[in-house]
Symmetry: C2
Subunit: 341 residues, 2 copies
DNA sequence: ATGAAAGCGCTAACAC
DNA sequence: GTGTTAGCGCTTTCAT
């Protein structure tokens, strides 16, 4: 019985090619993988016949021997967050360049999903890049010992990582606000499970201290526009004149929320975001934010992963940093009390 | 010699499990795949041991017999176009639900890359969803005969497809403009290789005719913000009062371009986009545009692909349509001559 | 209900 | 330079 797959004709196999050229499968294998181990004339002939038959070796069968699938997995907490777009593209570029296929999975911010996806990734790919993992450090450390892993924007003992240096740029952001005359600012936090949340807060607070600014922390919020919009109450409750948010999505939401309340940005209130996602320069006012190349981070992470795969050892530079800087746009201005003078 | 992969311990195999429970690999295979073919007590024991050993069958080895990789490929011309984000997520959802892995590839608008990626996809996955293919119809038709394919937003003879019904919504868009009093409108075209470009134009022209509007076609442009911004000249050259663009990216770019020229949207000029991407409601003015669920389209396409895989036959409904509608925001208003009265 | 054995497509020793 | 052979992890007859 033909069965369900009868409609798609099976691929030509190495045997078909071998039969067609009247040689053994081994010779065909060599001709294709290591042409120098074979008479150049036969190599040529085999290549040609393989082409005619549309043959190319099956990655799966090859895997049995080599243990390599030539695929990498990119694990993301939320594909729809624009921040990840460039990361995806950077990683994809680098993977393709090295002849690897990229598998993309979205864990939808769920640690459980991340676990199961990683378990699957172990079987189907040679390694994984984790963009903002939600799993505990210990688990990631253990996993990384058995399965090549590179973490993006989260530093974990024993796990190679690439981190965008947003803390440095956030210090610039505070400088910027201080320079404008702001005295009372705050940080609108991200998810508790986000490794970077605390780092960003520390960087901001330290810089605020340097300038003698009052700086409070406005709890933990989801990294979404909705969450930013909902934060309006907390933001307007005190006597703040500026807020730095965990990410741009929050900043955009907050901006919308303030506008709806009739609070003008930046005249009455300044906002600084983080990530410089698509859309940050489309709003009115455009968003002052921290720009770091997620694309570069994706490239570096994949490169590190590939290095690990090639050498079998952790990459030379275990923890890498990609630069970031403050991009000043229109959502920041002197606070009302200064502007009025 | 240990070799490069010495650091990662190999997975437990079916043999390990078999040895651990003192039974044959065949029984283990059955216990896991068809528990009903095995004594329930042994099935239970095997499952438990497999768990302890962290064993699960290798997809690659399984592929040798079944010819199935349990992976689907999603082929996109440009990952960074926000339009595709929801498509990605919808497809991913559906794939995950059915126990499939999703492989994502970005062809960067290149037909050559698309070809080579599809060739690779044939080996590594069971089928592919094409989001806006740039390949000729004939090639896709032939390929689809050998490899399960579903096309999104492009209808091809013999290839199952899911199309977002933007033409219907664009007719609404023209109605909307006519209702506001516009008499001379235009369509800013997309890439020539985009199947939908002509369809959109036809829909707009037909609707314009119905209303007795003058409607011109403003050539072919890349589906990017830059291209939209560059189109300002052409748009302002005539005596137009409104433009409908191929997609939102162009619309956003055009809006920016007009603003820079001091032309007020919507008071002096109305703009309607297409896709309702992230950012379309962030701009000021917010963008009137055509909203269609790319997520739904991704889901439907993947569902159709899975049906094809399960039954071996083309899906019941070869060509599906996902609804779309006009979302009226702030980038459209009566033209100056009407407003003045 | 379970086991033995063959074989999927390919590669890598090991002959010759 | 090329062929033979064994075997990767798994499923599936075919026996028992």
């Amino acid at each position: 019985m033909p069965g369900p797959r009868a409609t798609t004709r099976p691929h030509a196999t190495i045997k078909d090619v071998a039969a067609a050229v009247g040689m053994s499968p081994a010779t065909v294998s060599r001709a294709l993988a290591r042409p120098d181990m074979v008479a150049s004339s036969t190599a040529e002939r085999i290549r040609q016949v393989a082409d005619e038959l549309g043959y190319s070796p099956s990655p799966q069968a090859r895997w049995l021997h080599t243990g390599r699938s030539n695929a990498l997995t990119l694990v993301l907490p939320d594909i729809t967050n624009p921040f990840f777009f460039d990361l995806i593209r950077g990683a994809q570029h680098e993977a393709a360049r090295a002849g690897y296929t990229q598998v993309l999975v979205d864990t939808e911010e769920s640690a459980a999903q991340e676990r199961s996806h990683l378990a699957a990734a172990r079987k189907t790919s040679d390694g994984a890049v984790l963009g903002g993992s939600r799993l505990p450090d210990t688990m990631l450390g253990e996993l990384a010992a058995r399965f090549p892993l590179v973490s993006v924007n989260r530093r974990i003992r024993g796990v190679p990582s690439v981190t965008i240096d947003t803390p440095a740029a956030l210090a610039q952001a505070v400088d910027h606000l201080a320079g404008l005359g702001h005295r009372r600012i705050a940080y609108l936090g991200g998810p508790e499970s986000a490794w970077f949340d605390d780092r960003r807060w520390q960087a901001i607070r330290a810089a605020a201290d340097d300038h003698g600014l009052t700086c409070s922390r406005l709890g933990h919020r989801a990294p979404t526009m909705i969450a930013g919009e909902e934060a309006v109450e907390g933001v307007t409750a005190g006597d703040l004149t500026a807020v730095i948010t965990y990410n741009d999505l929050q900043a955009l939401g907050l901006m919308r929320g303030l506008e709806r309340r009739g609070i003008a940005v930046p005249d009455q209130f300044s906002i600084i975001g983080c990530d410089d996602i698509f859309g940050a320069d489309l709003t009115k006012p455009t968003l002052t934010t921290v720009t770091g190349s997620a694309e570069l981070a994706g490239e570096l992470a994949t490169k590190a992963l590939l290095e690990r795969l090639d050498t079998g050892k952790p990459p030379r530079k275990l923890h890498q940093t990609a630069p970031a800087h403050l991009t000043i746009r229109d959502s920041t201005a002197p606070p009302p009390e200064v502007a009025r003078r």
